[in-house]
């Protein structure tokens, strides 16, 4: 019986072979989690590259959703079949940087002046670099938050549209006026599941108020400042006092509610614009400000994991993220440009024509997305502590100062290595 089973197994194993590690067929494996238009375009680009470079072939492969990219990569480390290149979330860099498979790209980047590293938007560069100055990724995507608003609801409430000089007070007042409990209509939406989705919007507020997450030496919490308190206070006032915020529990219905005219304003990124239905007339504006109009970027990267096909992987990534090629990717998919020089190309006008709402986000990249989350291993724990604090304030379970104090203590003990 056992023998029969083993035989059956062997047969299946034999007939399903193929695939294999990075360069088993000579082609460099390129893992991505793109779907829809992005998947189509990356496949087309891969084909184009292979035709021009028959000796440096790249095998563009869908490896499951990007949400699972890190798990999948770790699995590949264990089973020894690592891809030449893989798409990873920016937040995965600190985890992956320590692994022996992960390729340090610093010398490659420094040794290729034509690659023009400084041409990438600052947020994209920061996300690919660890605090010790080493570069582990090539920018793959760079997003940021802006204010997206429903013009019809603004008109109905007799409000003028948000401007680039909007303050927090303007924002809070507008949200209050857009709120109508009887119609179940809210001024603003906040993702309140306690994950990084909750935290990054708070970080934007913190920076706008002139505060920062950690002290300049990166050793202690710095968000328990007057700036941090004013950010928490704004959340408290809007959610608990004004009831003008729809708290999204994490099922991301906020966008569908926006489409249904139940929410007046969102703080969201360019990825959501494609999901806004045609009947909704919307506008995009930079985030309201206090000291600054800071926004936050959520960049992702391509990372390399094979020493053996390093040359091919690097050549392909250089080509893929070159201004002329990436602007084509942007036009096909609506992803923002990665480089400043892309916005100087004639093709960029085509991008703006196709995605008019994206202009604010692109401008943000040069002006308002200058700060970024620290690329340190402790960040995931810091994020959890802050997530709890923000959640407690939004739900009215804690006062802003108390929530900040508790989070500060937690973060300080995390940074102290506990």
């Amino acid at each position: 019986m056992a023998m029969a089973a083993t035989l059956a197994l062997g047969a299946v194993a034999a007939c399903s072979g193929g695939g294999g590690s990075g360069s088993s067929h000579g082609a460099t494996i390129f893992w991505h989690g793109y779907t829809g238009p992005e998947a189509k375009e990356i496949a087309a680009l891969g084909q184009e590259w292979n035709q021009a470079h028959p000796n440096q072939k790249v095998n563009v492969t869908f490896a499951g959703s990007n949400d699972d990219a890190l798990k999948k990569t770790l699995g590949a480390f264990v089973s020894g079949k690592t891809p030449g290149v893989a798409y990873e979330f920016g937040s995965s860099i600190t985890t992956l940087a320590k692994r022996p498979q992960t390729q340090d790209l610093t010398s490659l980047v420094k040794g290729a002046p034509d690659f023009k590293w400084d041409d990438f938007f600052p947020a994209a560069r920061q996300a690919a670099t660890t605090p010790d100055g080493k570069i582990y990724g090539v920018p793959a995507l760079v997003d940021n938050l802006a204010l997206v608003y429903n013009k019809k609801l603004f008109d109905a409430a007799g409000l003028s549209y948000p401007t680039a000089s909007w303050t927090w007070t303007d924002f809070q007042n507008a949200a209050r006026k857009l709120t109508d409990a009887g119609k179940k209509q809210y001024g603003w939406a906040y993702v309140n599941d306690g994950t990084e989705d909750t935290v990054w919007r708070f970080l934007a507020l913190l920076w706008q108020a002139g505060g920062d997450l950690l002290t300049p030496d990166g050793k202690k919490a710095a968000f328990d400042s007057p700036a941090g308190l004013s950010a928490m206070q704004l959340l408290h006032d809007m959610s608990v006092t004004d009831h003008s915020v729809y708290l999204d529990g994490g099922d991301q219905q906020y966008l569908n509610l926006f489409n249904s005219g139940k929410i007046g304003m969102l703080w969201t990124g360019p990825w959501d614009l494609g999901s806004i239905t045609k009947d909704v007339s919307y506008g995009v504006q930079i985030l309201p400000g206090k000291v600054t109009h800071a926004t936050i970027a959520g960049p992702d990267v391509y990372m390399m994991f094979n020493k053996s096909d390093r040359a091919t992987a690097w050549a392909f990534l250089q080509w893929l993220t070159s201004p002329e090629v990436h602007v084509r990717f942007s036009i096909a998919t609506g992803d923002l440009p990665l480089r400043q020089s892309e916005t100087q190309l004639p093709a960029y006008q085509q991008f703006l024509k196709k995605y008019p709402g994206d202009k604010v986000f692109v401008d943000n990249l040069a002006k308002n997305a200058t700060k970024s989350r620290p690329n340190i291993p402790e960040y995931s724990k810091i994020s959890q502590a802050l997530g709890l604090a923000v959640q407690a304030v939004l739900l009215g379970k804690a006062q802003p100062q108390a929530a900040l104090d508790q989070a500060r203590d937690q973060v300080n003990s995390i940074m102290a290595g506990a």
Binding site: L74, V78, R99, P100, G194, Q253, S380, L388, L395
Partner: protein, 319 residues
């Protein structure tokens, strides 16, 4: 191959026994039994050993290390366990896991019995009704999570709309610290009910109809026939479900992951969710393994007690 040989040997022994002194060859007979027993279980046990036991032992070893799970770790003795004992979130998660289990298992079993009996009746369209009950079992947890989040949405969900219609207060469900865990219980009971029903139903169908008919002839009503005849015969299925549902309930993860993410404010953080965060968000693999090992010990103890109790119960009934 080995199975067949051992089996044949056992068969021969039996024949010999029948031909000779009945019951006189105790030790030899038992040896044949041992052989046959081991031969019968070994293929399954071997596979489960390689693919189940080896990783489990491995993970127990990890709990004494500091490791990110993919690169070699360093031995740290009982440090992870010391950390665990002093971690308030761990204890909160442990408490909530227990509460969840104590609610989920009995509710599921108590609902499943009447439904299984109902589905065992001769009514037109029964195939359809049975199918309907199994559907949640087939549905992916992600889809289940989406639909429950929608139904239980505090502001726009159907459930609160219905409550409002009959004048009951609005609830927060997944977004309330007090109700998140009960809401998860509700959703998982719904999701697992089909599983419990299918087990009970196959047990009921193993109940000889003649027994039920005889009971009916004896003047027992249907209800009494159920209590006297069917229910006792459901005992093995019940003890199976008790053990199985408990093992799964104490390892609740998917449903929390797709709805509350352990919140709000840790209100629905259960042990495996916490462990997952440690392992795949914070990459503290050793600590995650320690939590896993602690859970292992608890589940093992609970299962042993449950098996022992059900064995005693069946002895009692047998006599």
């Amino acid at each position: 191959m080995a199975v067949v040989a051992a089996d044949r040997a056992a068969g021969e022994r039996r024949s010999a026994r029948r031909g000779g002194r009945a019951g006189g060859s105790g030790p030899r007979l038992r040896r044949a039994d041992h052989l046959a027993g081991w031969a019968f279980v070994s293929p399954a046990v071997l596979l489960i050993g390689v693919f189940g036991l080896v990783p489990v032992v491995w993970s127990l070893l990890l709990s004494f290390q500091q490791t990110d799970l993919t690169s070699p770790g360093t031995w740290t003795g009982a440090a992870n366990y010391q950390k665990m004992v002093h971690d308030p979130v761990f204890w909160q998660a442990a408490r909530q896991t227990l509460v969840y289990c104590v609610l989920f298992v009995p509710i599921t079993m108590l609902l499943a019995i009447p439904i299984a009996v109902l589905l065992n009746q001769k009514v037109r369209g029964m195939t359809f009704y049975r199918m309907a009950v199994y559907v949640p079992l087939v549905t992916s947890t992600v889809a289940t999570g989406v639909i429950f989040s929608w139904l239980l949405n505090p502001q726009f969900g159907l459930v609160n709309a219905a409550l409002g219609k009959v004048g009951l207060p609005q609830q927060g469900f997944f977004q309330s610290t007090g109700e998140a865990l009960p809401a998860v219980v509700m959703m998982t009971v719904w999701g697992w009910l089909g599983f419990a029903v299918i087990i009970y139903l196959s047990a009921l169908q193993n109940v000889p109809r003649e027994l039920m008919e005889a009971a009916a002839l004896d003047g027992c009503g249907r209800v009494r026939a159920f209590w006297k005849v069917e229910l006792p015969l459901l005992a093995p299925a019940s003890s199976f479900l008790l053990v199985w549902l408990t093992i799964n309930a104490l390892q609740l993860f998917d449903e929390v992951y797709v709805t509350t993410k352990g919140g709000p404010l840790h209100a629905s953080t259960v042990l495996v969710y916490y462990l997952y965060q440690q392992a795949f968000v914070d990459f503290d693999g050793g600590y995650a393994a320690a939590i896993g090992s602690a859970l292992f010990v608890v589940i093992l103890a609970v299962t042993m007690v449950q098996l022992w109790l059900s064995r005693r119960a069946s002895h009692y009934e047998g006599n």
